[in-house]
Symmetry: C2
Subunit: 442 residues, 2 copies
């Protein structure tokens, strides 16, 4: 009989706050996303709480927003993930370190080498979040006039994955003999030259670094599109993001895991961790009040810009202090419009309140006491909507301290989360096997 | 009256030993170049000795050697410099951190962002060693069939430098106001969009990170060719390498510094630090014996391969235990051949001894007591052959400990080297000004 399933917890740390107003919350650190001392302390607190991983999203450009919204965003200055994570590796010992790297605007030799280096420096704690780049403005920083098409991006991503993993397997695990007497540093029979020439990429190899401690760093993905689900089923070991409703998450979970056997994979070898925005209080009212206080800090112009996108209708002329007017038909997402209209009719919320609500954060949100949030997490886990969560903190340090000091102990009391790390690598934490070397089978 | 000139000292740490046999030296750490705990300890020792910088060369491929030599080389597995240096930044406080990054096989947006991130994480200690890639095999790892021509590489490097420094200047130093009350994170008037479109590169900008602590990380270069000297005079703040003979180094020093006024620069704003391979002993005989012991560990096949390259003649058929035979004319470097032939005739060295000598390390070498090596360093400094040295350790840890424990105190006793850091940034250590922002002049 196997152990009952437990939650895996990642911490979503770039942007350090997904909510537009995180940096304005009273008592917070407005520069937290760009302060190494703060980030070091957060990583060490998360490790003390036994989190699986510290997770960094990324963009290779400032966000593609109008200046009225951009000037309010802390994301315009933050660290390159693959520069920050090695620094955090040196001041932590167990927590996993996952960085996003685009397959569209990178070279596979660099990506393979940097993640292998991080995996060695951290003793096996690296993860690679493979993205094809969502922000079209990235193209303009890399010599292109326009973003690559979605289909081309995914075809390139698949080939890129094969090249990176092929480079990681350049050396057998026991290639480096360092025979001081004979003066032989490695066994030439344990070196594989990849010599890849495909549709998008041409890379000779070998990689100039030993095979990673974990064999391969953990492969993470976020895409929820049809192409994203398929590449996840074929290659991902952790998936981030799965929609904000329980039923949709269950559908996603069953769909992606259901595709895995056809790809020759065990569904247990992929962990699905949707993002969860968590606001805690000693009472439900206190938690709701914190959330309301945060939402009230969303500037109206940011909120109206977001609301217009979600409604598919320009909301900038609406009366801010009146209820939502009747809306024309939209060619944008009808479900997004219907969701907001339904909420507006039910609550009678003003346009200003709606703008603040969608201007903050619109995904899966859990607000309540530690017991209430633990109940919700447990429901998601046992109904197979997820294997855990990537926790998004509403503000720092208080929102992070609340999770570490009140929610994690509640989850541990219920046996839903570890009280000690059982292993040393990110694969150990996630219960993932170490991949065999494709060129040097055991 | 200004302070008398003092030496600047860098530590050449990738490869951790430039000598082929460093990893075989008795009592050494054969895996030192690939062990984070060892490298961390070395960085902390060098910082305690007040070194200016920890310097990492780099190659984006395994070395282009025949397998008989390659299998003896520790460089085949080592860390990506821009992954190792952030980790070292987290466990040191003052020492500068210089990494090599190629302008031929990188994108300027990545380079600008990573060095800016390192500069912020380290509080102003980053340096960028700009190279155009010397190892032709790198091309094969980046989608090309052959290395770019020397002239094209240098033209691209010059444009690449303009783009990187332009991206570093994307934000005025005081752009990030973080006005919590108003909800404004930055002042839009203090953002510059580069919008570069040149012969080789097209990059819109802005960079998604604040201007570096140092304005720009310190610009380092190594090239000694005509094109390399000119780009150094125009852009470099530290130059590594200048030939192994005093007269040649003086010529290089005078030539490069002499070109600077025409480029509108103060010659004091460039520091020239040739590499110096240093072997110390309590007596000269002891130092010579260490060097001989190390050279004796160079495998004959590595040495013969190197000797053949230097002579421009296949030496593999020569009698190893006989003196060097008469040689045919060569189309390779006549000066390299003449130098070795002269040494062979003067000393009567056997082919085996010559192979060991050139197979180890052939550049500027200082062997002796701390006082003797300090004498030589002082002569180079006062006769304006250099502003200091990038120290190459013959083996580790002993060779590094010898420098830290015996040579540095001797230099400090003579007033030739600092006893405390006077500032916090690499620019402070080197006596370099902080560049003004080209788009937001003070």
């Amino acid at each position: 009989m196997s152990q009952p399933r437990r939650l895996h917890l990642g911490a979503f740390m770039r942007p350090i706050g997904i909510h537009t107003a995180w940096w304005r919350y009273p008592g917070g650190y407005p520069d937290a996303n760009f302060s190494f001392p703060h980030l070091k302390r957060f990583a060490q607190r998360l490790e003390a709480a036994k989190f699986d991983a510290f997770f960094m999203a990324d963009h290779l450009a400032v966000m593609n927003m109008p200046m009225a919204a951009l000037k309010r965003s802390a994301t315009v200055t933050s660290f390159d993930p693959m520069t920050l994570l090695p620094a955090l590796a040196a001041v932590t010992e167990r927590i996993g370190l996952i960085a996003t790297a685009s397959t569209t605007y990178n070279e596979p030799y660099h990506v393979a080498r940097k993640f292998a280096s991080l995996d060695h420096i951290s003793n096996g704690r690296a993860g690679w979040n493979l993205v094809t780049s969502g922000n079209p403005d990235e193209a303009l920083n890399f010599g292109r006039d326009a973003h690559l098409d979605h289909a081309v991006r995914y075809a390139r991503a698949r080939e890129f994955f094969d090249v990176v993993t092929g480079l990681w397997d350049s050396w057998a695990d026991d290639a480096f003999i360092r025979d001081v007497e004979e003066g032989v540093y490695f066994d030439p029979d344990k070196l594989h030259v990849l010599d890849h020439a495909g549709e998008f990429l041409k890379v000779k190899g070998p990689l100039n670094i030993a095979r990673p401690v974990q064999g391969w760093p953990v492969i993470v993905q976020a895409g929820a599109s049809e192409a994203g689900r398929q590449i996840a089923a074929e290659t991902a070991e952790m998936v981030f993001g799965a929609g904000s409703k329980l039923a949709a998450a269950q559908e996603f979970y069953a769909d992606v895991k259901g595709r895995m056997p056809a790809a020759g994979r065990d569904p247990d070898h992929l962990k699905i961790l949707p993002g969860a925005f968590i606001v805690l209080g000693t009472t439900r009212d206190e938690a709701e009040a914190k959330k309301a206080r945060l939402d009230a800090l969303v500037p109206t112009d940011s909120g109206i810009a977001n609301l217009s996108v979600r409604l598919g209708v320009d909301a900038s002329g609406f009366d801010l202090d009146a209820p939502l007017p009747d809306l024309p038909e939209t060619n944008a997402s009808k479900s997004a419009q219907a969701q907001i209209v339904g909420y507006a009719r039910k609550t009678g919320a003003t346009v200003r309140a709606l703008a603040q609500r969608v201007g903050g954060y619109g995904g899966l949100t859990m607000v309540g006491t530690p017991a209430e949030v633990a109940d919700q997490m447990e429901e998601w886990l046992v109904t197979r909507a997820c294997d855990g969560f990537n926790v998004m903190f509403p503000f720092v340090p208080e929102g992070l301290d609340d999770v570490v000091d009140t929610l994690v102990p509640e989850l541990q009391r219920r046996g839903l989360f570890r009280t000690e790390y059982e292993g040393t690598t990110l694969r150990d934490h996630l219960g993932l096997p170490r991949p065999a070397n494709q060129f040097f089978p055991a």
